[in-house]
Amino acid sequence: MRIEVLAPGFATLLQDGGRSGLRRHGIATAGALDPWSFALANLLAGNPPGAPVLELTLSGPTLRFHAAARVALCGAGLDADVDGTPVPASRPLDLPAGSVLRLGRCLDGARAYLAVHGGLAVAPVLGSASTDLRAGFGGCEGRPLRRGDRLPLDSSVAVDALHVPAWWIDPAFDDRPPGGDPLVRLLPGSDATTPTDALFAQTWQVAPDSNRQGLRLQGNALEAADRGERVSEPVVPGTVQLPPDGQPIVLLADAQTHGGYPRIGHAIRADWPVLAQLRPGERLRFAPCTQAEAHRALCGQRQRLHRIALALDAKNDRRA
């Protein structure tokens, strides 16, 4: 019972919710960069939250399913087909044994998630199946998928033919209207800039050397109010660092555990999906926010996910 990798895609990684409680050992969180699309894909595939999935970046893999499977695709929009028949995202797809699922290039957004019912049976390392790319462990030998890899599949669905339901769920993670530059809300950091609103006063562009460790931004250089040397202190995913060149870096899931640059803000969790889906060259803006607003935004997102889960349960009950 396996999935065979016929083509790996640009950078396809096994990820789950990441590692917790190991930062004192220098071990990063890793895990799905877009927690919303990750959760949605597992929900649609009928998995418990946090089951390991495939995270693909900019272009997807081509996979042969040697057993029948129920899968779901969420996140960045992309062309996908099963043996040549185009298939849509944001709903469960039933694939018969022998199917070849081809995931193309991302058309909008940077990362998509493929969840497989029953989960990808990967042995956890330090409590998680996530790939830690920088440290080289977890997931599939600590590296992106390669052609010829075989992923153990723990599936038990009976499927005779490709089935695509006529319904889908709305993948939006909040009620913000479409259009305009993506907006990321920031909590205050330890350090101020001069002037204090410099980070919020301009639109930033995503630099090409951004990766899962950090989103590197380009714009008019910022200046820290206090330019003195700093001793390394703990940093976390979401921390906005300001290196000497004045171009901020937003740390993401693979963030190092300690850093010595000024810290001028923290991207709130509810907006991590925005950060994860930005492509090199795209623009974004920041807005200041309070702890209470950050908490309300995260609760709102969790409630939305819960409502989707209830709707899916109701649908399954009717079918039974």
Binding site: S20, G21, L22, R23, R24, H25, G26, I27, A28, V125, L126, D132, R134, A135, G136, F137, G138, L187, P188, S190, R230, V231, S232, E233, P234, V235, V236, P237, G238, T239, Q256, T257, H258, H266, I268, R269, Q291, A292, A294, H295, L298
Partner: protein, 236 residues
Amino acid sequence: MNDTTIEPLGEDALLLRLDRRIDADVNARVHALAARIEAARPAWLREVVPAYASLAVFLDDAADGENYLQAAHHWLRALLDGPDAACPAPGAETAPFDIPVCHAPAFAPDLDALAAHAGLSPREVVARHCAGDYRVAMVGFAPGFPYLLGLDPRLAMPRRATPRTRVPAGSVAIGGAQTGIYPRESPGGWHVIGRTPLALFDATREAPCLLAAGQRVRFVAIDEAGFDALSAGAGA
């Protein structure tokens, strides 16, 4: 009264800053405070992450609530202002952990340059480096990377102007007034003066990291035959 500051570090962590210096006494206070927080084990505590002069306290998501960060802040402030419970830093009273290091030229590309900078012979550099009584100030940068305090000031040397693209795993190096060991091959700007055959980090080991923050460390010089013997043993 305690002048330690507490500030939020994102949504589910607080940063406690004791000072802004790299200093052995400050770092010892960091580890003593980390031990006090861990010993008190508040229900919301997920993890304490020490650094040189600060530490981060991570809160469990299960303790989520609009004011949970503030509640933890008050609890920590009360602990800081409370009677200073006698709680020694972990490892303070234990024997040092010995790290065998081979300083053969193939393993020590920067030993001669560092000796020239210090005005010492390479042999004297090795002797001084091995005479030190070190303490792990923090583990960070990469899994299992120990930042060590206690370097002989004579051996301090600014980082390389251009970092090496590949520093082999096990490289023992000096960067500024610090010394450390690269757990895994990676880029690096510190001066490499030797190599240990020990694996500083192994994700599949029960204790993945060889060293923990607060621990005492000594370097013990070995020759190439000793290095090979220990490498073979580690690989078995």
